[in-house]
Amino acid sequence: MPKAPRAQHAPGPEMVVIENLHKRFGPVRAVDGVSLKVETGQVVVIVGPSGSGKSTVLRCINLLETPSAGNVWVDGIHVNAKNCDLNTVRAEVGMVFQGFNLFPHLTALENVMLAQRLVRGRNKTEAREVAFAQLLRVGIAEKANVYPRHLSGGQQQRVAIARSLAMNPRVMLFDEPTSALDPEVINEVLDVMLKLASEGMTMVVVTHEMGFARRAGNQLVMMDEGRIVEQGAPDEIFANPREERTRAFFAKILSH
């Protein structure tokens, strides 16, 4: 990535470094001093009650939100530095949204091709090949020429994942990727995410899917009121949460 300044501290094995991040929306402190490191190849799962700031942390990594204070590095690039080329960084950071946000006027294949052509400068043939390969990877190649409105939620979300993967991102961000899905299609999306994790993709995932956290997560981060309450290996935290707030949160979501 040209133009972007290198970090003072050594890039090392960390793909994402968040340092004392703050984000205020008017009087609301959505994120209130969060520091977090995501090593290359790691899957970090962020959980917490709604309004705890977990999505905001994620959105600060690719600068969909501008941090009020603190620093974010992605692969050694200081992304919230003034002279950082945002579009270049964003091309390296894939993002999957809760609401899919596919482009409704384009087919699945065209959805996956568009940014490749505009941002990566690939020609039509090349972009089509990559797009098709990625749709195959998420198991939906047979729907390549279908418009999003004719796809189920799970299929749409898989196309959205393929759209991000086609950019060859260094890290993937997932913002509650299964929260808008019907229960019976949640697993088809989680399966794709598990596959990505096993292939060594660096991932930061905001989710309520504790099963995914347990199976794929290297690190579990519990947030509340804009801060990290507790973090560590998922199994340990599930077995033995140290903090009262973590216990209360697990009790609420795991009781059914």
């Binding site: 006027h105 418009y147 959205a160």
Partner: protein, 273 residues
């Protein structure tokens, strides 16, 4: 005409005139269109059979070309102005936003007739003085086109603004998150969807502008209304002249409506994404 303004925020918005599409029962048949056809047929009959109407027709019809030409040129320019002003209206740049809003509010705050005479007799002469071109070099036809383009540019700006804002923020975020620039996101993601939503409202404005060309008679531009008035001034035959003018406008607007609804169906624009 079945009139509803294309409400951009409402996904169930009705196109400018709904000519039925599939007719499933006798209730769906567009009887009103038969009524209009009957009026037009009757007037056509009068023109072809009675000399009084035939004379009026012969005097009015040479203005038709000007009416249509003015509409097409003015509307094409208005679309460009409207897109620029509409984007300006939602710009984060304070200067751009205020300039666009100023323009739109000034135009919307003054009657069309007053704007037409002001542009033709005040703005253009002052511009000629300021920029040093001959005031007479710009004929009334072009002053009329400039006036209509400026007026409808402001109306269309509001349609573009609402259309762009009707596209969810998630679309912009998805584009930006993929590394696309704000311009690429606007051109390739937001505008194609917005324009699809806007076609009913844009169609309404095209029809409205066609009708407003009748106001250009104050500039002595020889379009069909001016021709009718000139003919009545010498023949004193109002009742033999104005029904023909009436019928010509109705034919033009209904044809345009039909064309627009055919176009929407043809390209599947009624299919909501």
């Amino acid at each position: 005409m079945a009139t509803p303004m294309g409400n951009l925020m409402d996904p169930a918005a009705v196109p400018p005139a709904d000519f039925g599409g599939k007719i499933r029962s006798w209730r769906d048949f567009p009887y009103w269109l038969l009524g209009i056809a009957a009026i037009l047929g009757w007037i056509a009959y009068l023109v072809t059979t009675e000399e009084r109407y035939e004379n009026a027709w012969d005097r009015i019809i040479p203005g038709l070309r000007l009416t249509i030409e003015t509409t097409i040129y003015a509307f094409a320019i208005a679309l460009v102005i409207g897109l620029i002003a509409g984007l300006g209206r939602i710009s984060r740049n304070v200067v751009v936003k205020n300039v666009a809003t100023f323009y739109i509010e000034v135009i919307r705050g003054v009657p069309i007739l007053v704007l037409i005479i002001t542009v033709a007799f005040v703005v253009v002469p002052y511009a000629a003085e300021t920029f040093g071109f001959d005031n007479n070099s710009l004929d009334m036809k072009w002053r009329a086109i400039i006036a209509l383009a400026l007026i409808y540019g402001a109306y269309l700006a509001e349609i573009f603004r609402a259309g762009i804002q009707s596209i969810g923020r998630g679309q912009t975020e998805a584009g930006r998150a993929l590394g696309m620039t704000p311009g690429q996101t606007m051109r390739r993601i937001v505008l194609p969807q917005a324009i699809r939503n806007m076609t009913p409202a844009i169609g309404n404005d095209a029809i409205a502008m066609l009708k407003d060309t009748s106001l250009l008679s104050v500039l002595a531009v020889n379009e069909i209304t001016q021709n009718s008035r000139k003919y009545v001034a010498t023949s004193f035959d109002s009742r033999g002249t104005y029904p023909i003018l009436f019928a010509i406008y109705l034919t033009l607007t209904v044809s345009l409506s039909l064309l627009l609804s055919w176009y929407r169906r043809r390209f599947g624009l009624d299919d909501r994404a």
